[in-house]
Amino acid sequence: MSGVTRPGGTAFNAVRLAFAALAVAFLLLPLVAILPLAFTDSVFLVYPISGPSLRWFGALAESQAWTRAIVNSLIIGTGATVVATVVGTLAALGLRRELLPFSGLLRSVFLLPMVVPAVVLGVGMQILYARMGLASSYLGVIIAHAVLCVPFVLVNVASALASIDPALERAAASLGASPVKVFRGVTLPLAMPGILTGAVFAFATSLDEVVITLFVAGPNQTTLARQMFSSLRENISPAIAAAAFIIMILTFALLLAVKGASLFTALRRKQRAEPSEA
């Protein structure tokens, strides 16, 4: 801590180091341990891996249930992301200046889907869908997923909007730009990283959603996550590790792209702001 020697000595430091190592191992070991097992040639999910092989990826590609599930996940994830990103971004813009009465309350209500237990919402949706004829339909699953994705869009876009300096928009307006032009030329580009992050989180949320899917989807709408859930219940084979590998690569690639882009802009902004420290 800023160069001050801590009293306590080496014993204390050894305890700290041991704790840090154990905690990091606890957090990361499961993620690291599952990856190599995707490439085993054995039928058991155990170490040591007897030989490297792509047979379980082949097994996934040949299985109609798994390929169908992957396609379903992409369809439903894309649909839910589009719906959630559009309504979530509009709402974040509407809440931006806190012009409405009860803005804070509205925001809390909008975040509720993240908090309400999934089974509770699942029961309600199942009852509603049965009456509306949306049960076991793609549209129904897309809507259900979009409800869960909206908070992620809202939070990300709102924080991107909050970091925009209002002076920039005022300057554009004073130079004669119409409100639409200010929005398209200044606000939207500045908010874009937040909108993209929100969309990626929405997609990742839909990709990982199981519980609501169990309630509202029919056999034709089985998603990757749901397929994985049922195979984990039945028998754990290395196909699971291969599926986990695909999901991890997919989410990390998406997140790293967005995170990388926003870190890059943040870094450049910081460099510009404090050139002496850079």
């Binding site: 905690a23 606890f26 957090l27 709402a91 909008f110 029961v123 990300n156």
Partner: protein, 389 residues
Amino acid sequence: MSARFKALLLILPLVLFLGFFFLWPLWMMISTAVQGGTVRLAFPQTATAIASWDGGGPPPASLQAALIRDLRTDTPQERFGDAVRTLNSQQAGFRTLLPRTARAVREAGETDVVDLAAVDPRWNEQGYWLALKRSMPAYTDANLLAAVDLKRNDEARIEPVEADFAVNRAIMLRTFVIAGQVTLLCAAIGLPFAMLAASVSGWKRNALLIAVLLPLWTSLLVRTAAWLILLQDNGLINQTLRALGLIETPLSLIYNRTGVLIAMTHVLLPLMVLPIYASLIAIPRNLMPAAAALGAAPLQAFRHVLLPLAMPGLLSGSLLVFMVALGYYITPALTGGAGDQMISSVIAFYATGTANWGMAGALGLFLLVPTTVLYILYGRLSRTPLVQT
């Protein structure tokens, strides 16, 4: 157009969307829980006839005739089944009694007089008729009572259900206990971890933060699958312990409470670390050196300076972890045994297994209320956003 009106237009799509597909389903779930509609819908004439019977003495002939007429009409199979299930939950025996009676009534000719007591002597018992009467009102507390192992007896007084059927309270208690245990475990690991992350700088801090964020970004199913693999009898952990000579026979770490606690703690730990870290990072950097300079031993400085300042973060982290843990379904379903299932799995059983939406709704309400209360509390106490990005 005023700015306020524009803002309203912008939030309108989300208000409509969530109103329609989030709040309305929740409302439907609650109203289904208190609706006594299933029996009423299946036996409309009986409903009218039974209203004029005071419940004392044997049921009048007109009531019996109304029931026979209802059984003769072609009620959809599903609706009839729902009604039988509801009645059976009030009074065991209806599951066999009603289908048998319906068959007898239909086999008899249109004009024949059917003697219900001759079809099944149970129709002589007052209890069945009283249960029928109790199930008729448009609204009922039967599901809500059943959710906490209570029922109304023949005198409409509330009493506990038979010990064999009283399982819900135990499961609710277990849900709160597991959520509490997970919260404690998360706090025990998360507090020192966040303090450590806040006290170092540079790559060390980044490494610690990435260790928290990577699991958070990883699919819940992948994380649960990973624990299933690690904790098996011949999984990596048992293999390592055996190789080190620490154990002879494998520890059973999965499909029991140990498995549930390990996996849930792993899943929820980031939600504990991040709020504590956020509250610690806001502390002026020279506070701890100042305490040390004034002569405080590390433990003293920790107790009187760092811990009080970390408290708000610890509190919001604990609330968050507890709240999310209450509603967990996937992780206990996969890593726990039969005795580790939480209330969510009972709700899922009623809704998808037996289509008893009334019961699922009632239990859902008992999960929804504490969660909402905790969320309101969380909103009051904490400034940390729910989503960490």
